[in-house]
């Protein structure tokens, strides 16, 4: 896959914009997934994932073609997510009242589950629990847990993406696992 991606990057560098569409197709699910697990909101995740691809395109000339493209792309995406988390204000919270709705909060905007079979509701609820526990992690632990267990990346790749020594990545994964263990032990 990397060979194909490099070919497309060279085409993009020559001015062929359509070649970039193929790169987006190849990585869109992974980039969107990182964003969604980091931010917990589909709309924000889409916004950030699009932004990551646009920034990669604008800066493609600075990408070192000898490196792995996905590492570079994921670095852009995780940095954007971390920036967004840091800028987040409390009014993003679900129980915050939505302006002009007379007492409605974001929970009332979540579709009702009444038409779904019991089993699907259960697995959906479990998934929501896990997602919300991941979102409770401090951002430095959340990032490594998402990259390691949802994107299934190696410690070396994570260390390259985050530009951190491998020892630091390990420590964060250990602490992230311990924090999640305490949060999820009764699930």
């Amino acid at each position: 896959m990397e060979a194909l991606v490099k070919k497309r990057i060279l085409q993009v560098l020559k001015g062929d914009q359509d070649a970039y569409g193929e790169i987006v197709e190849l990585y869109k699910d992974k980039v969107y997934q990182i964003s969604y697990r980091m931010l917990g909101n589909r709309h924000e995740a889409e916004d950030i994932a699009q932004e990551a691809f646009i920034r990669a395109f604008i800066n493609i000339h600075s990408f070192n073609i000898d490196l792995k493209f996905s590492t570079w792309l994921f670095r852009i995406a995780t940095n954007l997510c971390i920036d967004r988390i840091r800028k987040k204000k409390p009014d993003y919270y679900l129980d915050a009242e939505v302006a002009g709705t007379d007492g409605l909060n974001m929970y009332s905007q979540i579709p009702s589950k009444t038409d779904m079979p019991e089993k699907e509701i259960e697995s959906l609820e479990l998934e929501e629990t896990i997602q919300s526990e991941i979102l409770k992690l401090p951002e430095k632990y959340r990032t490594v847990i998402v990259l390691k267990y949802i994107e299934e990346l190696s410690l070396i790749e994570i260390s390259k993406i985050l530009n951190l020594p491998i020892g630091t990545v390990k420590t964060r994964i250990h602490r992230g696992r311990e924090a999640l263990r305490k949060q999820l032990r009764h699930v």
């Binding site: 062929d16 987006v24 969604y36 889409e46 646009i54 604008i58 998934e127 696992r177």
Partner: protein, 82 residues
């Protein structure tokens, strides 16, 4: 029970697939006699399984065309001139 932290370190080394055979033996022997560490280890493994069980999600439809539409115009023209 207050076990030395070293056993927790071994658990994490094990989960990172970086434990040495010697330490793995020490960990296994300890788990046989220590219920607290055994449940700690089970909880860690369960946590990982739960996180991994979250189904893989896909980007929304029309994601690629939305990105392509937002690319800067300047570069688009370069493509057209070729």
């Amino acid at each position: 029970m207050n076990c030395p932290d070293i056993y927790t370190d071994y658990m994490h080394d094990y989960l990172d697939e970086e434990i040495t055979p010697d330490n793995e033996t020490k960990l296994r022997e300890h788990l046989l006699i220590c219920a607290d560490c055994q449940s700690h280890f089970q909880e860690l493994k369960k946590t990982i399984a739960l996180v991994q069980s979250t189904s893989h999600i896909q980007a929304p439809v029309n994601f690629t065309s939305a990105v392509m539409a937002r690319l800067p115009n300047e570069k688009k023209q370069v493509g057209l001139k070729r």
